[in-house]
């Protein structure tokens, strides 16, 4: 059995559609998407509301969770970097985690077959 890996990509919301399309092209169809708030190197914005400063430390980000079997991890990472990199702060991060098992509810299939 191949190893299964989870790839979390956290990036700008405005890049989401492009990323999804790029991932589709390399054959990734399954994914789970979260709306999250993030902070990192990118600092929040300060706006003025009724004359008072309003600092938003956390910026809205989108997180894609993609489980793949080992081989295309690098492909996914490369694709993501290609689409997402602007060189500006806030491009985002990719986290890679081990997965023990996957089960497809509809068929009961397990492991890589379930993906």
């Amino acid at each position: 059995m191949d190893r299964i890996t989870k790839i979390d990509i956290i990036t700008r919301q405005s890049k989401f559609d492009d990323l999804k399309d790029a991932l589709n092209e390399i054959g990734i169809t399954g994914m789970t998407v979260y709306q999250v708030l993030g902070c990192g190197n990118q600092k929040g914005k300060t706006e003025v509301y009724r004359g008072n400063e309003l600092t938003m430390d956390l910026l809205p980000k989108v997180k894609l969770e993609i489980c793949v079997c080992e081989v295309p991890v690098q492909l996914v990472v490369d694709t993501a970097i290609k689409v997402l990199r602007t060189g500006k702060i806030g491009d985002g991060k990719i986290f890679i985690y081990p997965v023990e098992d996957v089960i497809k509810v509809r068929t009961g299939e397990q492991g890589v077959k379930a993906l």
């Binding site: 919301q13 405005s14 559609d17 492009d18 706006e47 938003m56 809205p60 989108v62």
Partner: protein, 421 residues
């Protein structure tokens, strides 16, 4: 003393009508914000507020006199700052206090201006909006108003536009057309592949509330245009024709969308109501109730196919359907008076002359409006700029134009996910 009662009754009628027409601003604000995205909600309500504000001020300062001042060659009224003119021609037929008449005309003027913001929503610079809105209220609208209601050349020809299908709505609609065309579509509206994408509004509930408010406002807009509460026959007929034309148009639109899109479309049906109201406005006093029903049905067709045509064929991105509702149905409704007017319409044996004048007037207004507003937009584009940057548009105008992280601070707004850069 008799005169006194008549004046009081007429004044009450017009002033309460004014209040109702004013309230249409809230209706437009709700429709326009409801039909567009949450990230621009603050910007849209700000535009709706400010066009009324700017319009009220400049119309009093200049526009009113251009519209109702003694006619200069049938084209424009004698300018008089702060509405301080003689208005001798006006006073010949208008028995109300001048202030009553000014405030009534003010809320009409603001209606024309506010129509544009919907079509140009979600991508226009706020400062640019203020400028062109100013121009419409200061000159473009008053000149048309002079032609038709201020004793100008079209009035002389017998052109009939009782409450402003052409004067108000088509001026707004054609400005919206040119504006949306020059601006270009919102990011994501048309894919490179040519696909036309839907960009759903953020609150159809508020959109519907807006339509109900507008419908209410129309019970001031149309019957109030008689300028007389004494005129009970006309006023009650107008209530009937207005209401039934709107009803017929709504039903027609709903059925059309049901047939064409398989399911009755909520937002288009709401447009249908407005289409009927706009279309009957010109002839609400002149057609029979049955005529109003037919005009309503025609408006239902016109708005559905009109909006689709603008959207899919012309590829002009009009988020709220303002061009179809106000431009197309306003013009069409005016022309239909030439057919359906009980007194002189073609279908009642009146010959082609009436119809011809109606068509001429509609065309003249369209040409005037499109040319002048094009100049305005051109100058804006070359100076302060008309459209926000792509980044601002994607992030939302609330953030960049008003420093507002969101108009709905407590809710998670996900509008970005649907954008394509």
């Amino acid at each position: 003393m008799e005169q006194n009662y008549t004046l009081a009754i007429d004044t009450i009628w017009v002033l309460l009508g004014t209040a109702l027409v004013f309230f249409m601003q809230a209706g437009f604000a709700m429709v326009e914000t409801g039909f567009t995205r949450a990230k621009n909600a603050g910007n849209i309500i700000m535009k709706n507020l400010m066009d009324f504000v700017v319009g009220s001020l400049i119309f009093y300062i200049l526009g009113f006199s251009l519209m109702f001042g003694d006619s200069i060659g049938g084209f424009i009224g004698l300018p008089a700052l702060l509405s301080q003119g003689e208005f001798s021609a006006l006073k010949e037929w208008m028995a109300l206090d001048l202030n009553t008449f000014i405030i009534w005309q003010t809320v009409f003027c603001a209606t024309a201006a506010t129509i544009v913001s919907g079509a140009m929503a979600e991508r226009t610079k706020f400062s640019a909006y203020l400028v062109y809105s100013f121009c419409i209220s200061a000159v473009i609208y008053p000149v048309v108003g002079h032609w038709i209601w201020g004793g100008g050349w079209l009035a002389g020809l017998g052109f009939h536009d009782f409450a402003g299908s052409t004067v108000v709505h088509s001026v707004g609609g054609w400005s919206a057309l040119i504006g949306a065309m020059i601006l270009g579509p919102r990011i994501g509206k048309y894919s490179k592949s040519g696909k036309v994408n839907a960009i759903p509004g953020h609150s159809l509930t508020l959109g519907a509330l807006g339509v109900f408010i507008l419908w209410l406002g129309w019970f001031g807009f149309n019957p109030g245009s008689s300028l007389s509460g004494m005129n009970t026959g006309t006023n009650s007929l107008i209530f009937m024709t207005t209401n039934l034309a709107a009803a017929a148009a709504t039903l027609t639109t709903m059925i059309i969308t049901w047939v064409r899109y398989k399911k009755p479309d909520v937002s288009m049906t709401l447009n249908g109501s407005l289409a009927g109201l706009v279309a009957i406005t010109a002839g609400c006093d002149a057609v029979s109730i049955e005529g109003a029903l037919i005009i309503g049905i025609i408006a239902g067709f016109a708005v559905t196919f009109g909006i689709e045509f603008v959207d899919k064929k012309l590829k002009i991105d009009d988020p709220v359907g303002a061009i179809g509702v106000h431009g197309i149905c306003g013009s069409l409704g005016t022309i239909l008076v030439g057919l359906f007017a009980v007194d002189g319409g073609l279908f009642y044996g009146g010959g082609f002359k009436y119809l011809g004048v109606q068509i001429l007037g509609v065309a003249a207004v369209a040409v005037w409006t499109m040319i002048t507003i094009s100049i305005v937009f051109f100058v804006i584009k070359k100076t302060i700029g008309l459209r926000v940057s792509a980044e601002e548009e994607v992030d939302g105008l609330d953030l960049h134009e008003h420093g507002l992280s969101s108009s709905y601070a407590d809710f998670e707004v996900k509008s970005h996910l649907k954008d394509v850069i």
